[in-house]
Assembly symmetry: C2
Homo-oligomer: 382 residues x 2
C-alpha cells in the first residue's frame, strides 16, 4: 500500500465496463451476440483522437495496468513501470487503454459470466477464443471509444502476439506495433509446458470437467501446479539462482518431503496466491489461445508474406535470458518484417531476469521503449 501516490503514477484509477452488442463471430464458429469488456484508461484522449495507445495483456494479466484502485492497494497495476506521467508510455502525452480480454476472469465476459441462454455461468462451455478474436473484440472497443486508429498497440508475451496480430489483421487501424518478448508462434516445447499445465488442472478431482462452480469447489491443486510450472518458465535459471540459490529455509537438510529449499517455498507461495485470484477455465482458455496463435497459417505458412500485410512501423524487443520466447524467436519476427520491406526497430536487451524482464524496471529496456514512444508521440499533431 502506498503511503502516498508516487508522483510518476497515474494515481487512483477505476475501471469502466463497456457493453458491446455488435455480435462477434469467433474463429471456433460460435457467435457471441453481445459481451462486456472491462477497461481502464489513463491520460486524456486528444481532440482528433490520435493519441490512443492500446495495451494488450499476457496470460494472467488484466485491465489494471497502472496506478492504484485504492490507497490500500499493496501493489500498483501490472505494468506500472512502463505507464505513467514521464514514463515510457507517457500518460501526459498518450491516452492509454487497457482491457481485460474476452474469456478473462476479471470483469470481461468469460467462463465466470452468466450465459444468457442458460441462466448459469458459462464455465467450460465458454468458447475457446483466439488472438484474432481478441483483436476483433478490441477493434469493437476502439469503435465504441471513437478511436479510428491507434497511435500504437503494445504488449509483452501473449500481449505482444496481439500487437503483432493487430498489425497483420487490421493494418490501417494502428501506426505502430510494439512487440515485446513474443514469438510468431509457439514451439513444441512451449505447447508441451501448456499441456502439462492443462493436464494438472483437468486431472484435479475438484475440476469436475470445468463445472467446479456448480460443485461449489475450486481446482486449487491443479491451478496451483500450473502456476508453479509457469513461474519456472518466466524466470531464467540465472535469476532463480541469484534470488534463491540452494538456500534452505531451516539451514539444514531435513530428509523429508516438506518444503526445504527457498525456491520451493517461493513456488508454493506463488501457487497459493494465484489460485485465490484466477479462474481455472480462463487459464485453460488462455493457454489454448497461445497454442493456436500462428498468424502465418493463413498465408501458406510463409511468415514473410504474413508480414507483408503490415502497414504500421514496429518495435520488437527481446531479452537475452528469456528462454520461454528467446531472442531467436523475436528475430524470426524481425527478419520476416525486413524481408517484407517493413520498417522495424529491434532491440535485444541484456537482462538476466528471463521472460519476466518485460515487466521489470530494466533501465536500458525502458530507455529504448521511452525513446521509441517519444518518436510515436512526436508524430501526433494535436
Amino acid at each position: 500500500m502506498p503511503d502516498s501516490i508516487p508522483a510518476d503514477s497515474v494515481g487512483l484509477v477505476s475501471p469502466t465496463t463497456y457493453h458491446i452488442d455488435t455480435p462477434l463471430q469467433l474463429d471456433c464458429g460460435r457467435t457471441l451476440s453481445s459481451y462486456d469488456l472491462i477497461v481502464e484508461t489513463y491520460g486524456e484522449l486528444n481532440a482528433d483522437k490520435s493519441n490512443a495507445v492500446l495495451i494488450c495483456h499476457a496470460l494472467s494479466g488484466d485491465h489494471h495496468a497502472a496506478g492504484y484502485h485504492s490507497m490500500d492497494e499493496r501493489k500498483p497495476g501490472w505494468w506500472d513501470t512502463a505507464i505513467g506521467p514521464g514514463k515510457a508510455i507517457d500518460t501526459n502525452r498518450f491516452f492509454v487503454v487497457c482491457l481485460n480480454n474476452l474469456g478473462g476472469c476479471k470483469g470481461s465476459t468469460g467462463p465466470m459470466t452468466i450465459n444468457p441462454d442458460t441462466g448459469k455461468a458459462y464455465g467450460p462451455d465458454f468458447p475457446i477464443v483466439t488472438v484474432e478474436d481478441w483483436v476483433r473484440s478490441q477493434a469493437a472497443l476502439a469503435d465504441k471509444l471513437g478511436i479510428a486508429q491507434w497511435a500504437a498497440v503494445v504488449g509483452g508475451s501473449l500481449g505482444g502476439m496481439q500487437a503483432l496480430q493487430w498489425a497483420i489483421s487490421l493494418p490501417h487501424r494502428l501506426r505502430h506495433t510494439i512487440i515485446i518478448a513474443a514469438a510468431p508462434k509457439l514451439s513444441a516445447q512451449n505447447i508441451a509446458f501448456n499441456e502439462v499445465a492443462r493436464t494438472a488442472i483437468k486431472s484435479d478431482p475438484d475440476f469436475h470437467d470445468g463445472h467446479y462452480m456448480a460443485h461449489n469447489t475450486l481446482p486449487k491443486q491443479g491451478l496451483g501446479l500450473a502456476r508453479m510450472l509457469g513461474h519456472i518458465t518466466y524466470l531464467s535459471d540465472e535469476a532463480m539462482g541469484e534470488k534463491f540459490g540452494r538456500e534452505l529455509r531451516s539451514g539444514a537438510i531435513q530428509y523429508g518431503y516438506d518444503v526445504e529449499f527457498q525456491i520451493e517455498s517461493y513456488l508454493r507461495y506463488q501457487s497459493t496466491s494465484f489460485v485465490g485470484r484466477f479462474d481455472a477455465n480462463t487459464y485453460l482458455l488462455m493457454t489454448k489461445a497461445l497454442d493456436y496463435f500462428d498468424p502465418a497459417k493463413k498465408f501458406n505458412d510463409d511468415l514473410n508474406q504474413t508480414m507483408a500485410q503490415i502497414e504500421a512501423k514496429s518495435l520488437v524487443v527481446s531479452f537475452t535470458s528469456d528462454w520461454r520466447f528467446s531472442p531467436m524467436r523475436s528475430r524470426e519476427i524481425v527478419n520476416a518484417m525486413l524481408a517484407a520491406g517493413k520498417s522495424v526497430t529491434y532491440a535485444e536487451v541484456e537482462a538476466h531476469q528471463g521472460h519476466d524482464a518485460f515487466l521489470m524496471p530494466i533501465p536500458r529496456y525502458l530507455e529504448i521503449f521511452a525513446s521509441y514512444m517519444n518518436q510515436v508521440a512526436g508524430e501526433i499533431k494535436a
Copy 2:
C-alpha cells in the same frame, strides 16, 4: 522384440539379487540392517578382478542396462547403445556391473519392499537416500563381488553424479570416473522442476501420503504429470520441434481441450506407459537424492578442494543442447578438477537431442567414449 539377437548385443541376460547384511548407515541418520540389490553383469571378470566397470543409473533407470531379458522383449536395456561386444563399454574386455539403486522399484530394497520391522511395505517410510548412501551400498556390492577397485565407474545424469561421488568419497577404489551430462549440484531451476513433480504426486488424492498400496490404488495422475514434465526437460526445444513441430493429430484445430498437437499425444503416451512401470515413492526419493547432491558441501562449498580428493582419472562429457545440465555445468566440474591438478578429459559434444543425448547413438559421442574406454582397457594387465 528382436527377431534374433543382434551380434553386438550382450544377448539374453538375467539379473541376480545380492543380499547384503552389513548394516548401512544412511546420511539421514537411520540404518538399514540389511538390504537387497538386484544386479546384472555382462562380460567376464578377469583373474585379478581388474576389469570391472560399474554403471550407475539415472532417475528412472534400473539394473537392466544392456541385452534382452527374453526373445519377447521389445527393447534392449537402457544403455544398450554403449554396452556390448565391440561397443564403447566393450564386454569382450570389461566385466560390466549394473544395479538397481537402493530405494528403487525394480528389485532392490526400496519403498515397495516389506519392512521387516512392520511386516508391511515401507512405502513413504523408506528413508530418503543420498548419492553418498548409494556409493556406500555400491561399495558393499563391490566387496561382495570381490572387486577391490573398479577399472571405471560410469554414469549419465544422476548416474554421472554417482560416478563423481565415487571418485570423491572412495578415491582408491576406482581408476577412472566417467561423468556424462551431469552437474556438481542442482540449480534452483533444477530443484524447482523437481518440486513441481513432487507436488503433482503428493497432491494426487490417490497418493494417500504415500500409503497408496495400502489403499489398493496408485497416484497415476500425479506420477504421470511428473513424467510429462520430466520429459520436457530431457529433450531440447530443437529436438521437440524437429520431432513434433506444431503438427496436429487430426490435421485441423478442434477448439477443445482434448489432445490436438502431436507433442501432446507424445507426452500423454509417455505418462501412461511410465505409471505402469514405476513407483511414485521411488520417484519422490530419487528427486530428493538429486536435490541433495552437493559434494562440495563437506568441503566448505569449495569445489576445487572437493576435487582434490580424487585419485581417478576423469572423462567428462556434455551435450550442446542439454539445458537440464548444460555444458556450463560440466565445465564447472572440469575446471575444479583442473584447478585441483587432476587428470581430466573433457568433450562437449555437438548434439541437438538435449539431455537425453547421453542415451542415444550419436557417433561422435560414442567414438569419444569408446576411445577413452579403450585406454582404460589398455591399462588392464590380465
